[in-house]
């Protein structure tokens, strides 16, 4: 049988790691083919090879039975391969049209014919039902529309084979639903699709077949009609997966965090947190569920003092900390595992040891009268590395050299070790493997059991449902509902996160 895409025995190495090890992928004409694997399994790498961004060390690629050599994305485009990347590839200052036509511009006497281009864009967007404003700037449009722009980019180039790399991670359930409709329409138009996603549900819903990769190696391809989520999960991880977190019931105590009518604006002056109130007791984990961009980031930044609150009040252990300096808030008993570990959590060029005292370097015993006590710092770092099982050659190693999971463990070690009354954990397990996730979840629960308050933000509903004692749903900068995990499910949460109302009458 002739495949529209056939990748045979692909091997791709990065310094110190084999990202793809003898992987084979066969895609049939007109199917939606899922590519499944843990974080770092090598999915994106494989697709980047197919798209010509990377050159494989070994292996062959056939498109419609013909052997091809995809040396760069231009070649892929010519072969009818288009890719929607995990991280959007859009120039923010350009308009939708400019982004779509880039590299393939309709011309008129040497200049870009933007009018003609916009018309073409409109025509394609009508044909596939992808609503966009051709003249809007990317920086001004929603994530969902940005994704439609990404899809249009490939269609504009006449792509026959579309690669979607984790397209649903950033979307609301409603947008996901829309996307699924779009994909189905594309198949009707005779296209073929490769879909990368971590959400087994989606695979079961739309895909025809699924290829699983584990640690760079191809595990096999299965027909969706002949499998189930449990099988897919164990293929992916290599063992039976325990999806739930072990924890006893919570024993909430006195209030630790109180937020009243908080308003926070983003850099452009648009209120992102809008009259938000929330309270948190010692001994409980409150998970904030919500689609990215509904004010989570601004909320955390306001609590931690990284951003000014416009109005409202934040109290920590009864003390008003509204608009205090970050250091003062930290000293009042706040720990913060930041959302972006590279941006906020670590100074990557500092050693692991130096990073371990990022919040305390100026205090005794790590320094005295402005002079650092390096031996004391390194001593502390050593013990934390041991206790939290941070895999690093030594405490002198630059943090940059650690894997993502170990970087995260280092941050958690630093923040948890100070035993703060309030621990904010923003996406604490993003991009981590199952083992690391289990470890981090158990640490959060441990803190809770010590009577500390934990505020967790996550986009992963599984994580929210498994770890939280209470779930606060955030939508457009407000807490729209607070639910108990045992009294709700993903569907309901998804609806709330999209601004819907609960059907069942709540017990608040």
């Amino acid at each position: 049988m002739e495949y529209v895409i056939e990748m045979r025995n692909i091997r791709k190495e990065f310094p110190g790691i084999v990202a793809n090890d003898n992987v084979t992928l066969q895609v049939q004409q007109g199917e939606i083919h899922a590519l499944l694997g843990e974080n770092g399994a090598g999915k994106s790498t494989l697709m980047n090879v197919l798209f010509g961004l990377y050159q494989p060390e070994q292996g062959e690629i056939y498109v419609k039975g013909k052997k091809v050599n995809i040396t760069d994305p231009n070649v892929a485009n010519d072969l009818g391969i288009g890719m929607v990347h995990q991280h959007f590839m859009l120039v923010e200052k350009f308009t939708v049209t400019e982004n779509i036509i880039l590299g393939n511009e309709p011309r008129d006497k040497g200049r870009v014919n933007l009018k003609k281009a916009a018309k073409e864009v409109e025509a394609i967007s009508k044909q596939y039902g992808l609503k966009v404003d051709p003249y809007a700037k990317i920086e001004d449009i929603s994530v969902g529309m940005q994704q439609r722009v990404e899809i249009l980019k490939t269609l504009y180039r006449g792509a026959e084979i579309l690669i979607f790399d984790e397209p649903t991670a950033v979307l609301t359930p409603q947008e996901i639903h829309e996307l699924i409709q779009i994909m189905k329409r594309l198949i009707e138009e005779g296209k073929s699709i490769i879909l990368i996603t971590h959400k087994l549900k989606e695979i079961m819903e739309v895909c025809d077949r699924c290829t699983v990769i584990r640690r760079g190696k191809g595990i096999g391809t299965v027909d969706i009609s002949e499998t189930n989520p449990d099988e897919l999960a164990s293929m992916m991880v290599g063992r039976e997966v325990n999806f739930s977190v072990e924890k006893g019931p919570a024993h909430p105590k006195e209030e630790v965090l109180q937020i009243e009518n908080l308003v926070v604006e983003d850099a452009r002056g648009v209120p992102q947190v809008n009259d938000l109130s929330l309270s948190l007791k010692g001994g409980e984990i409150v998970g904030i569920a919500g689609v990215d961009g509904n004010g989570q980031t601004e909320l955390i930044e306001a609590i931690t003092g990284l951003r000014k609150a416009k109005s409202g009040m934040i109290k920590l252990s009864g003390k008003d900390i509204t608009n205090h300096k970050p250091r003062k808030i930290t000293e009042s008993g706040l720990g913060h595992i930041p959302q972006d570990r590279h941006k906020h959590g670590l100074v990557l060029d500092f050693s692991v040891g130096e990073n371990m005292v990022l919040q305390t370097y100026y205090q005794k015993p790590y320094s005295n009268k402005g002079v650092l006590k390096l031996p004391k710092i390194m001593e502390k770092a050593k013990s934390l590395i041991k206790e939290y099982d941070v895999r690093t050659p030594s405490e002198m190693t630059p943090a940059r050299a650690l894997s993502g999971g170990n970087q995260q463990k280092a941050i958690i070690a630093r923040e948890v070790d100070r035993s703060p009354n309030l621990l904010i954990a923003a996406q604490p397990t993003r991009g981590l493997d199952v083992g690391a996730i289990e470890f981090i979840h158990s640490k959060l629960v441990e803190e809770r059991d010590k009577g500390k308050a934990v505020l967790m933000i996550s986009f992963e509903l599984d994580e929210i449902l498994n770890v939280s004692d209470r779930i606060a749903v955030i939508y457009e900068g407000k807490i729209v509902d607070i639910v108990k995990p045992e009294e709700t499910n993903e569907q309901e949460l998804g609806l709330l996160m999209a601004g819907g109302k609960r059907e069942k009458v709540g017990d608040q």
Partner: protein, 352 residues
Amino acid sequence: MEVLKNKFSGFMIPLVSVILGLLAGAIIMLFSGYDPILAYTALFNGIFSNTYVMGETIRQFTPLILSGLAVAFAFRTGLFNIGVEGQLLVGWLASVYVGLQFDGLTPFLHIPLAILAAAAAGALWGVVPGFLKAKYHVHEVITTIMMNYIALHVVNAIIRSYLLAPGERTETIHQSASLASAYLQSITDFSRLHYGFLVAIIGAIIMWFLLWKTTLGYELRAVGFNTNASQYAGINVSRNIVLSMVISGAFAGVAGSMEGLGTYGYMSILSAFTGIGFDGIAVSLLGANSAIGVVLAAALFGGLKIGALNMQSVAQVPTQLIEIVIALIIFFVASSYLIRWFSNRLNKRGKI
């Protein structure tokens, strides 16, 4: 192991670059009809052949150390200070001004006072770009360039209006403020070697200590690497940016005092920049922005510059050849990716 390897390559790359730079210089000389062997022999003799040139070499690289430290310090904290030249000029003037006052003061007070004045003036010149960067995100490269020109004109105007002595310069400073030493001159056959080199060495030690041994240094480095994480850690980023330019400017100011209190003992009206500040960029790069590296690199550049005089005199090779060699050395250091790539390939072969 890791650490050792880093140290090794941190030393290897400048060394290889210097060798490549000198080789390229030799090739240029061959092509343009000079005798590279004669020239490099003259260069070598021009640095080492007698105590006079050795004294002059040290005299030459003393301010280079400090201007290199100024650039390196800013680099370490994420800033590019092209304004060392201007900061140096105001420092020079301030040191001379103090040197002209306080007749009869003991040298033990007068010299430190004059050096401190230079540091303060340089720091003041650094405040402006630092503040504008911290507060308005104005690119420090542009402001420091502008501040250089302002310094040049202002310094000249001040000398001309208030401190003018015959010969387009200020009067000579009081002996009590002078770093010049009859003893040092006598052992180096009347070179202008002065006690400033001790100041420069102390400067290097201060920079090392400040950066690596103090909480201030910790903060400055953190801000240089990652402002977001620094904010997260409760470090006042704006204050540290200003502080970094201030300290960098202070080093530059002290570099100026080496000329004012040591080499010359006065300040002339200048029609152009001294170039010491710009050379500091090269020194800092070659020295990998470390204190010890800066000292070594300054010694190399100072030596090359003094040696070049003899090279011109003996082998008729224009002194500009040395400028070319220095530029090529910077290129090689900056393109260290290339050198690393080669050595990585060699290593790989050795391993597998």
